[in-house]
Subunit: 346 residues, 2 copies
């Protein structure tokens, strides 16, 4: 396995997020990635490298240019409004709800934030663009490694990506690293690719990126959106549109699901991927299926992740692993590396 | 003139709203209505009465039942989640942005808030339903007074209403009092009705209620949504759809507009209403066109409002006045009563 890591991830450090009516300290913190790196130093799995610097064109295959322009200029514009804004991260205050228009181009900064953002838990900070952009480089380098013949690569970056779409952010995510990696595999010659998302939360952004495409199969095992974030996508009846019909598989599971039941759902997703016939897998690796996660509801235990890795290995596909969520910060490292050992050594 | 006032308005007292990334004390405070009442006691314009209690069916002509069910049960559900929630008003944390579904029925409370709310400045509080419902009674009683032969009636209530739509709230608004009044005039026999909105902020909710209807003409003079709230509606190219084509007139004006320029726009709106030929007028009376308003950008002065009232009187229509925004709290009373004197005595 080869791991791509960039210390710039720590430039994204949100201060407060809106959670159940209150501003609370952010759950998605730099230590999350650092603990995984530490654990990989204790139980190594190959080289840890800096990513290459990839051209924006690779990211623009997934994200719309005006959205990227907004992201990379947002902090400077925020500061230009009021120098006191340095003390406060950017959170949305208004957005186009029912009957309001998306086909407008407001100049107001808050209005632009609302066009692009779908929650109040995702502060855009001084270092967000720098961190997210470096994270996309990790994803691209990891995908390139597989194109170059590696069996397993790991983009260890943050912020996560799977809730972000072509022109929106939310759920702690800004650039969809999994989608960027999958598209890079396609551009590099893989005819069909699968993205498997095992984060506790449905990867709505990734699904949206590929929902009308047959060349990228998206499968997700996640908390039922009837009760779990992101609530408005991730239902079992979402099977794709147009050319993408049949290339989207959601397996929502109730809060409290334990490893035995979860593993059955995983196997169903793996079977579907096998039947679809792909040349490579992108794994959106969220560690918030862990029983100790503070904002999630599954019951997986640390030792279970070795078996998860072994199950994934049965696909016998090259795998690009993308680090997503997981908020039991100390255990994220142990659990992620357990899974990677299970996958690398099966 | 007859005024309908209900002390229950004060049951809605939001604590904090999200404004430019920060939680700040609410601008829309109970004193706003109380100062208008005080000024009406100093310079009376007829009786001040309690409204009748109207059946929900009158409100359901404008608002969808599931939305009303949500509003009237929200606070109890919020408390049931956590008794500590009594200390915190309800604000949204996630909502259906691009590619997310509205055709789902999440059980999660936060997810339901996000389905119905389009900004983070509109706390839903312990007394919101009680106050908004009493406000709708004021609007219905004011409309009924005109149906019964009054030339001028005034629903002095809060929270305001013109940003709320059939199934959404925001902009400090929950029930659209102006739309409820206009519909009541229609039900009571007025063949065509106009709603004129002179709040600084476009009345997106009212426009949305009647956008496909020819029997209610909507005209608004407001801050240009390119730079002013609500940003995503209120553009000049919005002229109605289906049967409503030609029955919607938006006149957006730039920040800094003074009375002379504003009055030209008002006259244009009044001319359009005259040409449309209606039997009654509902006036959405926002006082945030005042030069001293803390969150708006026009330059009207207190004395100008006498002339505004006189201009409106030239329509020679019975008028139901609905109290909307205006956040220069002290002057709201003086300015509103100046306008009402200008209107009543012209």
């Amino acid at each position: 396995m080869i791991t791509f890591f960039n210390h710039l991830h720590a430039a994204h450090q949100g201060r407060m997020e809106m959670f159940r009516g209150r501003l609370v300290p952010c759950y998605e913190v730099p230590n999350r990635a650092d603990y995984v790196l530490q654990e990989l130093q204790v139980r190594p799995l190959g080289a840890v490298q800096q990513p290459a610097q990839w051209a924006d064109s690779h990211i623009e295959r997934i994200h719309e240019k005006p959205y990227l322009d907004f992201l990379c200029t947002a902090w400077d514009r925020w500061l230009a409004l009021d120098s006191a804004n340095a003390e406060v991260d950017i959170l949305p205050s208004v957005w186009p709800g029912p009957t309001l228009r998306r086909d407008v181009q407001p100049q107001n900064f808050s209005a632009q934030v609302g066009l692009y953002c779908f929650d109040a838990g995702t502060p855009l900070t001084a270092g967000t663009w720098q961190a997210a952009r470096a994270g996309a480089d990790c994803a691209l380098s990891a995908a390139q490694a597989v194109l170059d013949g590696e069996k397993l690569s790991f983009a260890l970056s943050r912020p996560p990506g799977h809730h972000a779409g072509a022109n929106f952010y939310g759920g702690y995510c800004f650039l969809n690293n999994a989608a960027i990696a999958a598209e890079h595999l396609r551009q590099g010659g893989a005819e069909k690719v699968a993205v498997l998302d095992i984060d506790y939360h449905h990867g709505n952004g990734t699904q949206a990126c590929f929902y009308d495409r047959s060349d990228v199969f998206f499968a997700s095992v996640h908390g039922d959106p009837v009760t779990e974030y992101p609530f408005y996508l991730g239902y079992a009846d979402e099977t794709g549109v147009a050319a993408g019909v049949g290339a989207n598989l959601n397996i929502p599971l109730p809060r409290g699901t334990d490893y035995a039941r979860w593993a059955q759902a995983l196997d169903a997703a793996l079977d579907a991927i096998t039947r679809y016939g792909v040349q490579a897998l992108v794994l959106s690796l969220g560690m918030d299926t862990f029983e100790g996660d503070p904002i999630s509801g599954f019951k997986l235990r640390s030792d279970d992740y070795f078996q998860v890795g072994a199950r994934l290995a049965r696909l016998a596909l090259p795998v690009v692993v993308i680090f997503e969520g997981g908020y039991a910060v100390r255990e994220v490292g142990i659990n992620a590396v357990n899974l990677l050992h299970g996958l690398a050594k099966a």
